[in-house]
Structures are given as C-alpha cells and as structure tokens.
Amino acid sequence: MSRSAILERVRRCGTGTSVPELPQKLPEFPCYQDAAAQFQSALQAAGGTFLDARSAGTLGSALERVLQETGVHEIYWDGHHVFEKHAISYTLRDPQAFSQSRLLHSFHYRGSLQFPLLLNSRPYQLQHLAKISLAVSSAEYGVAETGTVVHEVRPGSGRLLTALPAAHVVLLNDSDLLMNHADLFPVLSPGSTGSMTTLITGPSRTADVEKTLVMGVHGPQRFYVILMKSDQAEKRHTPP
C-alpha cells in the first residue's frame, strides 16, 4: 500500500529533528484610508473596470453602461442570491425560474435597463452556457489591497456561468470590502457554502507570447466590479 509506505517514511524522516513552531501572527499587510479608492486603482491596474453605484438608484445606469460597452442585450444572473443580497427588484415571467438547474436571464433592448427586472429562465446546458456574453454575479468579499473579489459557488448556481462568458460583472457591497488578504483568508472558509471558491482579479489574461499582455484567453475578456452601498434598496417587487 502506497499510503502506509509514504506515511511511514515521512514519519521516520521527520522524527529526531526539532519541530520549528508555526508562527502565530501574520506579518503586517497594508491598510488604506480609503479602501474603495485603493480597490479601484488596484482593479484598474489588473485590467478591470470599476463602477461606483453607491448612491441610491445608480445600479441601473452602471449596468446600462456595461450593456452599451459590450453591445449585449441579455444579462445572465448567477442566481437568486444576487437579487436577495443587493435588494434588486424583479418580476418572474417564468414560474420555474428559481428551480434548480435553470439559468436566469433578463433582456434589455437598446441597452436600457428597467427595474423591476423581467426574469426568464432556460435549462442549464453547457452548449448554451458557452454562447452567453454577459454574466452578473455577487461577491462575498472584496479586497482593497489587490482589487480582488471573492466568488463562491452556491446551491442553485455553478462554476461555469462566471468562467465562460466574454464579460463578467460583479456586484460588491461596500460593507464586504476588506483591506487586505490578511483580513480575508482567516475569515474565508471554503467548502462551507459551496464546493469551490474563486478569487478573481481582473479579466482572464496571458503573457505567454513574448511576455506581451493579452486579455481574455479562456475566461472573460472584460471584467467589471460595481460597488454598491449595502443598505441600498431598489424598490422591491414581490414575485407574482
């Protein structure tokens, strides 16, 4: 058995030497007077776009700007929790919309976005996912130090909706904005909510050819973070 052989060998080698202590404190990480400003500059340095929607009612115009820049009419939403967390109002066209393994989406002709959103749904299929241009998800946390957002897979949503499209928009509440990674990792408990957690910073990129930077290799080419006030509420409509 490999297992016992390896463990036995490892144990034998390890004994007899003194065991250095595990350091109890993390080294210092930078703090900022204005976390949002640092977040913005770090995100931009990583090739992402920062949109400020902290004043009430500005989420709509922020999203409209994204729709215009990307030339897209349809938004795919990472799941029910996005609406809950950011108090986004919607009406359901489709009674099955929130059932498992369905993709939630809304249409926006001529780039104009209206609240409440009119939500449709369609079956969750790989071939269809690959054709989606724009996905919107919600961040568990943001990290000012590096302009990073934390995406967690949740019940009812998956890994691919944010990984495949050409553009990805993340909504981040300002109360979830942390200073640095030393604030993040001790509170992160991956596995407790979903099977996978991803730290995302800017668009997908490569520098594999002559160290020349290119955005959008396998993942999104455009990446937006919209910062919101956590108590901000678009007027909520109860689903019919």
Binding site: S2, T17, S157, H181, M196, T201, G202, R205, E210, H218
Partner: protein, 477 residues
C-alpha cells in the same frame, strides 16, 4: 527527466548548441529582461518583503517536520467532503492510476492545465502510449506541445519562442493565416481549445497548495483554463506533490503574495481557485468525481536531512531561473528535466540520484542570486555545494579534491595573500597571454590548466594593470 541511453541526465551536450543558437539567445534576452523588470517593481512595492519570506520559510519548515500529521489531516478533510484521495509512492503509481481511470471511463482525450508534477512523472508520454490524447490548455504549454517540445520555464513554458516562430508554428500545425499579432494568436488558441473544453470528460490539474485544515486544493492561474479544466469535465484529477501541503488557510495570504509577485510580478493572479469537492447536490455544474493524487516520487527521501529538506520548500515561482546567469544563457531545455534553473540543479539530482544527474550541481556560478530572490529562502548555493561533494564522492569514492586541484587552490591562496606576489603572478599571466593568448582570452594550453579550461574561457587580461596605469598617470601629472 530526460535520461540518455546510459540512464544519465546530462547537461553538457546541450549547452554548446544552446549558446550557439542566436535566435534563442536573442529571445531569451528579450523576455527574461521583461520578467526581471516587473519582478523588481512588484517586490520593491512591499515594505516587509523579508518578513513575509521568513514567515513562509518558518511555515514550510514546521510543516515538513510534521508532514505525516498534516498529510493525514488533509486526507481526512478531503474525504470528509466527498473527495477521493489516492496515494502514489512513485511516478508509476500515479501514471497507473490516471491511465486506468481513463480506460475505465473510456476516455480518449483529456484536458489538462499546467502541472510541473505531470512533467516530472511523464504523464503525457504515458497517456500517449495508451493512445489517450492530452490537450494542454495553458497557452504557453499549448505552444510547446504543438512544437513537440518540453516546457522551457516553470511559469512561462514558451519563454524561448518569438512571436514569429509561434506564428509559423500555428500556420504549419493549425492552418492559421500566418499572423504575428499576439491577439490573433491568442484568439485562435481560445477558439480551438474551447471546443476541447466543451467536449472534455476528464480534466487534470496540478495544485499550488493544499490546505490541511480545510482540505482545500489551491490552483493559481491567469488564463482561466484551469478553472475550465476543473469545472467542465465529469471527472477532475488533481496531482499534488506531498510537499505542497500547508497547515492553515490564513497563511495563504502570505504564500500568495510571495508566489504571484515572484512568478509574474503581479500583485495577484487573475484567478485563485480554491476547490474543496466535486459538484455538490444542489449545484448546477462541476465534476461528479474529484480525485486528489498525493505523489511522493522521491520527495520523502529529502526529508532525512534538515538542510537538504529545504529543497521541498519550493513553491515553483520560477524567480530563481530568471535571475540565474547560467539559465539566462543555456536556457531551460539544457537541464533535461522538468525543473530547470537553480531549483532544477538541486531538485533533479535529489529526486533521482546524484549518480544519474552528476552535472546538475555544477551548472551554477554560485553567485547566490537565486537564494536572494527565493521567496521561501531556500539556501540554493549551500545545497549545491553539498550536492557537489556528494557527486565527487560518488565519482571518486571520497569527497576530497584531486591533487592538482588542491595545488591550484594553494597556489591561488599563496599569490592572493600578498600584494607583491599578486602583481608578480599578474605579470606572469600577462606574459603567458602574450605567449599563447589569442584575441578573446587567456589560454593556458598545458596541464593541469588545459584540462580545467576545456569547458571554460578565461577573460583576457587588460594590457596594463591598474597599478601601472596609476603610476604612469602620476608621472604625467
């Protein structure tokens, strides 16, 4: 590891051709220069860089001393969340597992993201022998795979290729319109690989860290290909070297900061994937099966000695390659191993044996740049010296030097320890240079020097020494 017929991994036959290859030298100079520049910027931005390095070193030292405990903890956590843990004593065990799994699932083609460990164990070759195609999905890896070459660098596999060469390759192998536009090259690869992703049923990735406390596999990347490899297929296999385990989630803050800045000069990479399991019951996608293969393949042998053990601290950032004057000249392929550069020089002989890689510890000028840049403070030059002694012992049966070498050093010490003797020696060498020298440098065509100089070049001595010039100037004044 690319052994020759005698079962040896040799560097010397490959250095000459690499040095004579003008294209390679130009490409290396161009790309390594860029890498060094961004690295410098990223590190100088961090005020307590040294403190971070010490922290990481301490965590690694602790973990390796208690590795049996943390490995079991990791296993427990992964299993508790529904993943499967496979232990592989050596390369063959790991290969057998993957091959059998692919056969069982009737898989003929699989997608893979960057994994140094897979290069180390020769995964692609083993799968090929079983007629299973491996699609490398990292752009750099994809390029070198198309070219039929091994990776050139730990974090930048196609560092040695110019855009012109890549454009030619793409038009030859993929029938793409020849274009040197990097955007175009990338777009072609994206389209092609997308198809492979969507059809893939088995995805293989490596891991940068494995967190024992939570059972989390950490995969750091920029392109988003690893993310697809571990999301689309119904089976995800992670290959993890046993030294990759770290005890706590919190320490990732430090390790990530060190890794990404050292590797690519980024504050953080585009994606850091933390994977705890395959698809959970109410999740919309993700693999149904999640296997973590813990590979030893010679690593546990390194634990015996606390000095040599530090080799296992390595987080594969590749920074030591970039600063190494030897790597900068001979490039990655000359090392004939998955691990080139200074880390390869110490890792290759230890993972195999000093007898099979006796040249590796000598492929260094001992300048110490690697140890200075290493984010986890591996004393590479020190380990190199220990390995040199081992290599010597393996060859001569004893670590002692041959008499001629001993005398040469005594002579050196004698002449360096007095100004008069030094200038006499200098005069003698200058005379010899006149006698035998050609334009490029000092030649000493008699034993024992001729033997020593067979693979070395001495720079030419200046026609006048500093003292002479100084004296003459004074007269002039």
């Amino acid at each position: 590891m690319r052994k020759n017929q005698a079962g040896m991994i040799k560097i010397s036959p490959h250095t000459g051709p690499a040095l004579a290859n003008a294209t390679l030298q130009a490409n290396l100079k161009n790309t390594v220069g860029k890498v060094l520049h961004v690295h410098q910027l990223a590190v100088s931005e961090v005020a307590n860089w040294q403190e971070l390095r010490c922290h990481a070193e301490q965590v690694k030292a602790h973990t390796l001393a208690r590795l049996h405990f943390y490995l079991q903890e990791l296993e427990k956590q992964i299993k508790g969340q529904g993943g499967k843990v496979v232990w592989a004593d050596n390369a063959q065990d790991a290969l057998d597992f993957v091959v059998e799994l692919a056969h069982q699932r009737e898989i003929r083609r699989l997608v893979k993201s960057k994994s140094m460990l897979s290069e180390e164990i020769g995964l692609n070759e083993a799968l090929e022998r079983e007629r299973i195609e491996t699609v490398e999905t990292d752009l750099g890896e994809f390029i070198v795979q198309l070219a039929g070459e091994p990776p050139f660098h730990i974090t930048a596999p196609a560092l040695h290729k110019s855009r012109r060469e890549i454009a030619q390759l793409f038009s030859q192998k993929l029938g793409m319109e020849p274009s040197e536009d990097v955007q175009q090259i990338t777009a072609t690869a994206r389209t092609l690989l997308r198809e492979h992703f969507l059809a893939a049923r088995l995805g293989i990735t490596g891991a940068n860290f494995a967190v024992a406390e939570t059972g989390t596999i950490v995969v750091v990347e920029n392109e988003g290909n690893a993310r697809l490899c571990l999301s689309v297929p119904e089976t995800h296999v992670v290959l993890v070297g046993i030294e990759k385990v770290i005890p706590r989630m919190a320490d990732l803050a430090v390790f990530l900061k060190l890794l990404t800045r050292s590797a690519t000069g980024q504050r953080i990479t585009s994606y850091v994937n933390l994977i705890n399991a395959g698809r959970r019951e109410r999740e919309a996608d993700g693999p149904h099966e999640f296997y973590v293969v813990l590979v030893d393949n010679g690593r546990s042998r390194l634990l015996v000695d606390p000095v040599m053990r530090q080799t296992l601290h390595c987080i594969r950032c590749g920074a030591c390659l970039n600063v190494c004057p030897v790597y900068q000249k001979i490039g990655g392929h000359a090392y004939q191993s998955a691990y080139p550069g200074p880390i390869g020089a110490i890792l290759t002989p230890q993972l195999t044996s000093i007898e099979s890689a006796p040249e590796h510890p000598f492929a260094s000028s001992l300048c110490g740049a690697c140890a200075e840049v290493c984010p986890v403070r591996i004393p590479i030059p020190h380990i190199l010296l220990r390995l040199r002694a081992q290599a010597q012992r393996a060859k001569n049966g004893k670590a002692a030097r041959v008499p001629a070498e001993k005398w040469a050093f005594q002579l050196w010490a004698w002449s360096m320890s007095s100004p008069t003797r030094y200038s006499r020696m200098e005069a003698l060498l200058r005379f010899l240079q006149k006698l035998f020298g050609r334009d490029q440098g000092l030649r000493l065509p008699f034993p024992p020097f001729s033997q020593w100089l067979r693979r070395r070049e001495l720079p030419a001595l200046a026609p006048q020494s500093f003292r002479q010039i100084y004296r003459n100037r004074k007269v002039m004044l």
